[in-house]
Amino acid sequence: MPRMSVVEALNCAIAEEMQRDESVFCLGEDISDANGGYGGAFAVTRGLHAKFGAERVLNTPISEMLIVGMAVGAAMTGMRPIADLQYGDFLFCCMDQLVNQAAKMRYMSGGRVSVPMVLRVPVGATGRGAQHAQSLEGFFTHVPGLKVICPATAYDAKGLLKSAIRDDNPVLVFEHKLLYGGKRSESGALSMVGEVPADDYTLPFGQGVVRREGKDITIVANLLMMYRAMDAAAELDKAGISCEVIDPRTLVPFDYALVIESLRKTGRLMIVHEDTYSNGWGAQLAAYVAEHEIYLLNAPISRVATHDVPIPCAAVMESFVIPSTARIVAAARALMQI
């Protein structure tokens, strides 16, 4: 099986879907690599212009409302746009098109229109300061009508993005900048490459995956934090604490059942995310469990999240506010002592 970075897997998914279905097209700032252009701020759309031409790899002005608004309009009228916003933070420049429009069009029409669009959203802190760093999931798990996915591996990236493109609803794809892999030498980036089937496959939404089995604590973590949780689990293992690590892979729909099944075994829940502590996506999961399965718990729920501050730029402060492996380990130890 070929080995790919997340960037390559995303690129592959888009190329295959564009090949398969003429209604799929890409739009966004700097997404074309014609004439020395970038092929996307993170090179995800590199090579597509040569294959599919400028009409289907549409470089736009710096106009986020236009990009997302066009995606909504095109999606309602027979196309399957994939919009790229460079940095997730810029979503705030076009929230209306996403929250008031994309998410609600189908419903407001009484189910008579569909909005099959994909919005790719790079997130995560990479030493660039507060306006290029946010992990935004919690905003969008709060919006009925949107689906929210967060692939953490190359395999998931290809399979889930393909499902997103074929889905008849607006789907936000959260991608972590430090997981892209490839040639980017971002400090803190994981140089991940994974096996990815060369042929067509899709992955269903709403199915998390157990990344590591364990019996003492269920750790639910997404994107970069899943890797930190895995590192923490390895370390904790040596100390005799056995962690089960679950990667939810999609946040809307969410695989509550998998978490609950795991809790039956462990009785302890820890949620780790780069989203903020207050009302990050984990708040909903914690609340859900406290509502529906509180009796499975042998300990308080633990959340390890980014502190409730804008993301500071200096490395020493940035790494303090983002959950580290050490913070996860410490929280797990605390959980076992209660």
Partner: protein, 340 residues
């Protein structure tokens, strides 16, 4: 200033010939349908038989009908918080709209949309948009879709004078211009955005002159003259169909009612209202039809009556129609089965 703006050299004063009789009467009927529908809605609200809020379009019938009378069913249209005229002119059924106003299960949005979101994708009317200006970028996307799908369909995007100050206007018109997309931007300048006069919201005199900032040709038209609108609209639509790109039309018009349900329009001078009343678009058109011998007063009265009958029947239908089930509220959030 308001009415005299119509006399300014910025407004095309060309007198456009009447069309052949069938079309003329069809246009008349379409305008009357909007008028009678809106008047009926007004009374239904006063009587408390329907609730929520309304933004009514009567007075602006010439804009909707002039722009849309010749529309193909596959052409697309995007409307605003004030959608009834546009929807009816585009061909959304009067019954389904009335049922929507009553919140009934057989409304055009099955009761989920309400007065500000009426539409019917089946006739090219996407759900109307109650976020001022936000239908503009969406229309650009629809036009891009028309182009990609190699149709020669055209998008007509309506918005108000107030909307032209939204950022989405800027981003949308620019995008349509650079890709020469088949969309006609129709600004119905009724002099006010809610209670605020257009002159206090921009320093330039016309919205049409904003087209130049994007390289989009623009024209200011008497929006109460249905034939003037129809003529300029036809040119803009033909241009779009030929792949030559967008046009911006500014239609000078006036709403009869207040901005919304509870608005008594205290901000509008009596003389201004009177002056516009004298230029009521239906009255003007009726005058020409009779004056130029295309129809008799009796013929037109018969149309009025027929249309009133349609409206009455729609009200009866709506009142007799079943409410949605409460639990229907949980459907239509996502497409597809087994979603969430």
């Amino acid at each position: 200033m308001e009415i005299t703006e119509l006399d300014s050299d910025k407004v095309s004063k060309k007198v456009c010939a009447l069309p052949e009789r069938d079309k003329a009467l069809g246009m008349y009927e379409s305008m009357v349908r909007i008028r009678k529908y809106e008047e009926q809605i007004y009374y239904l609200f006063l009587e408390g038989r329907i609730s929520g809020s309304i933004h009514q379009s009567h007075g602006q019938e010439a804009c909707a009908v002039g722009m849309l009378y010749d529309s193909r069913v596959t052409d697309l249209m995007a409307s605003t918080h004030r959608p009834a005229g546009h929807d009816l002119a585009k061909g959304v059924s009067l019954e389904s709209m009335m049922c929507e106003m009553f919140g009934k299960a057989n409304g055009c949005c099955h009761g989920k949309g309400g007065a500000m979101h009426t539409g019917d994708i089946g006739v090219g009317a996407i759900p109307a948009n109650a976020i001022v200006g936000s239908n503009i970028p969406i229309s650009v996307g629809m036009a891009y879709s028309c182009k990609m799908r190699r149709t020669d369909d055209v998008v007509v995007c309506f918005f108000g004078d107030g909307a032209s100050n939204e950022g989405g206007f800027h981003e949308g018109l620019n995008g349509a211009a650079i890709w020469s997309l088949p969309v006609v931007f129709v600004c119905e300048n009724n002099l006010y955005g809610a209670s605020t006069h257009v002159e206090t919201t921009m320093k330039v005199r016309t919205i049409a002159e904003r087209g130049a900032a994007y390289g989009i040709p623009a024209e200011r038209i008497d929006g109460n003259d249905v034939m003037a609108v129809n003529e300029a609209g036809a040119r803009a639509i033909a241009r779009a169909r030929r792949g030559e790109g967008p046009t911006l039309l500014e239609l000078m018009t006036y709403r009869i009612a207040g901005h919304s349900r509870s608005d008594a329009s205290a901000y509008r001078p009596d003389e201004e209202e009177a002056a516009w009343q004298a230029r009521d678009p239906i009255k003007l058109f009726r005058g020409r039809l009779i004056g130029e011998g295309l129809a008799s007063a009796a013929e037109l009265a018969a149309i009025d009556e027929r249309v009133q009958g349609q409206v009455d029947k729609a009200v009866q239908l709506a009142e007799a129609s079943p409410d949605p089930l409460p639990e229907d509220a949980l459907r239509d959030v996502y497409a597809g089965e087994g979603g969430i």
